[in-house]
């Protein structure tokens, strides 16, 4: 079985979700080839070998420093064919998911997105997908010879299994059509831990009363190397940027730890957090529905509890 893994990068560094994709492919067994596009640090590419890539292809075309879906799909379809790969593995993301769909059509492959664990190959090839916004799973059989699998965060554990790999340049002739959609500007929070990738998320709701009180959440987040999130009303009111809004209609997170502060726990909010490993709820109302979905809970005033918690965590380190 030959597996091709599409690895994404940002500012020259391979994304953690893509390292998970390499680990996922390695755990499946078979030959693993990773492919990266655009400018990426050489050491980062070589390091993919440690996680199980036997071969690393690099398309060092600077035009691909922008995540152009069409062009990326053309490159990956060609590599899928050239490498004679049976399976393409990538991380679900704003770039990975549309690329997966396009490559699946171009290659005539079975497609599964939101895959949460390794396939079961005891009879056929069965993957488990998250559906109904995390409220259920489906087990589906992928029956075509070629398969494209987009995995969710935590679908595989990152493990060092080998030594650095050598990097092979790879090139593809792209057409004008590949560049017909122009990216004219990119605004990105820099230096922060990105919410969809964070291991710990500190999230605030309407109970925080106003944007001027976010400082105590940011301090807590900083002490834990966490990303900050919020409930929908908080982003609707403009207290926080839209990309921090967690839930059914926002970002679905899957961190090790989700700390919900002043959030009531409406079903639409829970839909975005129910893949978290542990949930801590801080709310002044003991009847808040969020406690039913929590592992640990504190009934109390956020303005009193959160600074104390931050101090206790700082003291630990």
């Amino acid at each position: 079985m030959a597996i091709l893994v599409f690895v994404e990068s940002a500012e020259g560094k391979i994304k953690k979700t893509s390292i998970e994709a390499v680990s996922y492919a390695h755990a499946m067994g078979g030959g693993v080839t990773a492919i990266a596009l655009g400018s990426v640090d050489k050491a980062e590419l070589e390091n993919l070998g440690k996680y199980g890539a036997q071969k690393v292809l690099h398309v060092a075309d600077e035009r691909l420093n922008q995540g152009l879906i069409q062009a990326y799909a053309s490159v990956l379809s060609k590599a899928f064919k050239d490498e004679n790969a049976d399976i393409l593995v990538l991380a679900n993301s704003s770039l990975g998911t549309p690329v997966a769909a396009k490559v699946a059509i171009q290659a005539g492959a079975s497609l599964a997105t939101n895959v949460v664990e390794l396939p079961n190959t005891s009879s056929g090839f069965v993957v488990k997908k998250s559906i109904y916004t995390g409220k259920a799973f489906s087990l589906v059989e992928l029956s075509n010879a070629k398969k494209v699998i987009a995995i969710r965060k935590n679908a595989a554990e990152i493990k060092e299994v080998g030594s650095p790999a050598s990097v092979t340049p790879y090139s593809v002739t792209l057409s004008d059509a590949d560049f017909s959609t122009k990216i004219t500007a990119t605004e990105k929070a820099t230096g922060e831990i990105l919410l969809p990738e964070a291991n710990i998320v500190v999230s605030g709701g309407r109970g925080m009363k106003g944007p001027e009180h976010w400082g105590i959440l940011e301090d807590l987040a900083k002490s834990l190397h966490a990303a900050t999130g919020c409930s929908k009303p908080v982003s609707d009111l403009g207290w926080r940027p839209h990309h921090e809004h967690v839930g059914q209609t926002g970002v679905k997170v899957a961190p090790q730890l989700y700390i919900a502060i002043g959030i009531s726990g409406a079903i639409q909010h829970l839909a975005g957090v129910n893949s978290s490993k542990y949930i801590v709820v801080i709310n002044k109302d003991p009847e808040a529905p969020f406690f039913k979905a929590a592992d640990y809970g504190i009934v109390g005033d956020a303005f009193d509890v959160v600074p104390k918690l931050t101090e206790a965590i700082k003291a630990l380190k």
Binding site: I69, Q70, A73, S94, L95, P98, A100, A101, K102, I105, Q106, A109, S110, L111, A112, T113, N114, I131, Y132, K135, A136, F137, S138, L139, V140, E141, L142, S143, S180, T181, K182, T184, A185, T186, E187, K188, E192, N199, I200, H242, H243, Q248, T249, L257, Q268, N274, K277, Y278, V281, F291, D295, Y296, G297, I298, V299, D304, V305, K308, I313, L316
Partner: protein, 245 residues
């Protein structure tokens, strides 16, 4: 301008999810169905474009006859006509193929969908349709402005957003704040009853994906409560029991 809006017919966001027939079928007992919340944004933006520049808006759903009340609601919100492709929407590629099949040759300038359905959540039908029709597809789109035969969009990416420019036609998967959800008024509801809703048969497509069964996540254990005066205890539980900090 001709706009197509593809809508899914999905359980209301507060629904409890259960399965029947050995976990192979969704239990629709007592469940209220709605237009997918993201699809509702797509529809709202289409209606705004119609109001601003006189477009025609067609809605399409791949579903069995029970989805017609949902389709009528989209007509009540302001779509001009509707198509129902008569088939169970078993999987993303199946749905996308039906949409592409019934779109070819009609000359839509813009195909709007939601960023994802809230049942399958695949988030790929728009990308698949774009690929099948040889058009670009962009998702999730938070802002969409049409200027002549070109469009300016903004799309959410991890931790930020991207501004894009491209020419019509294309497919877009929409999300807030692209438009405000629209609520049908009495006149809309009355006129929706007589607007054309065409039912067409589905074409055979093999998508290479077959459902085996559904599963529910394991039930959550009970919550451990900690006193607000003892945050230290929470810290040690997180460190020693959960091992997450």
């Amino acid at each position: 301008m001709k706009i197509l809006v593809c809508i899914s017919h999905v359980p209301d966001t507060t629904s409890k999810i259960n399965f029947v027939e050995n976990n192979t079928k969704f239990d629709s007992n007592g469940v209220q169905f709605i237009i997918g919340p993201y699809d509702d944004y797509a529809l709202a933006r289409a209606i705004e474009l119609k109001e601003a520049s006189g477009a025609t808006v067609t809605v399409l759903n791949v579903g069995l006859a029970d989805t017609e009340p949902t389709i009528r609601k989209a007509l009540a919100i302001g779509a001009d006509d509707a198509i129902r492709v008569n088939a169970e929407p078993v999987d993303s590629l199946f749905v996308a193929s039906q949409i592409a099949e019934h779109t070819k040759g009609v000359g839509y300038d813009l195909i709007l969908m939601g960023r994802e359905s809230i049942d399958f959540n695949s988030g790929v039908v728009h990308s698949l349709v774009g690929e099948l029709l040889g058009m670009p597809s962009i998702s999730p789109v938070m802002k969409l402005d049409i200027v002549g035969s070109a469009a300016k969009l903004s799309r959410e990416i991890e931790g930020g957003k991207e501004s894009l420019e491209l020419n019509l036609p294309f497919v877009a998967g929409c999300q807030e704040p692209i438009a405000e959800w629209k609520i049908p008024n009495m006149r809309g509801i009355m006129s929706a009853r007589t607007k054309p809703l065409k039912v067409v048969e589905a074409s055979a497509v093999s998508s290479g994906v077959k459902l085996q069964k559904y599963e529910l996540p394991p039930a959550k254990g009970s919550v451990k409560m900690i006193s607000a005066d003892n945050v230290q205890e929470l810290v040690s539980l997180l460190k020693n029991e959960a091992k997450v900090i």
